[in-house]
Symmetry: C2
Subunit: 110 residues, 2 copies
């Protein structure tokens, strides 16, 4: 079973805490159980659970139950609002993405 949340998806709030960003980072490679994640942090396991709940509410992770474990999986697409917001600022510093944009625009013209 896969559970997603129906709460207010405050993406920016969710990634504002360093621990939660690290948790997302951990999930880049692979799904992980709560204990696997909690092992990387100083805080108590319930605290980790609460952080994961916030990530779940933001839709940044999904939860799937395997026996008595719950494995969390990254939903990177949910970071799109952050990326999209940043694109407003691209022209100030970015040559990379400008080049990419031009590249894609050129591709579309083909």
């Amino acid at each position: 079973m896969v559970t997603t949340s129906h709460h207010a998806p405050d993406i920016f709030g969710a990634i504002s805490h360093p621990a939660r960003r690290r948790m997302l980072d951990l999930l880049i490679d692979t799904d992980r159980s709560v204990n696997m994640i909690a092992g990387q942090f100083e805080m108590s396991r319930p605290a980790v659970s609460q952080h994961l709940r916030i990530l779940l509410d933001a839709g940044l992770v999904t939860e799937q139950r395997h026996g008595r474990e719950r494995r969390y999986r990254l939903v990177a697409a949910r970071l799109a609002p952050v990326r999209d917001w940043l694109t407003h600022y691209e022209r100030f510093w970015d040559h990379h993405l400008m080049q990419l944009q031009q590249h894609l625009a050129k591709d579309n013209r083909k």
Copy 2:
């Protein structure tokens, strides 16, 4: 005189509040005084000042005094930590872009 802050630069925390993101957005075009910014928000002017202070502490804006005004200027380069963090997730974007490209390619074939 240009003032920058010497406090802990919590970029992610600074952009976690919608009002502060909107303030940054307003500064994309041009520098603005506090009143110009406050005019765009429901909250009191001191509240706006406090938000600007947080942006200043994060280094996301600078402040320069012109007569009795203080004009705030965007420092977009300070968003680099956000952009850099997002790059860890780039390969997921690429995957999406590839899907998009495939989707578009399919449309073109129709």
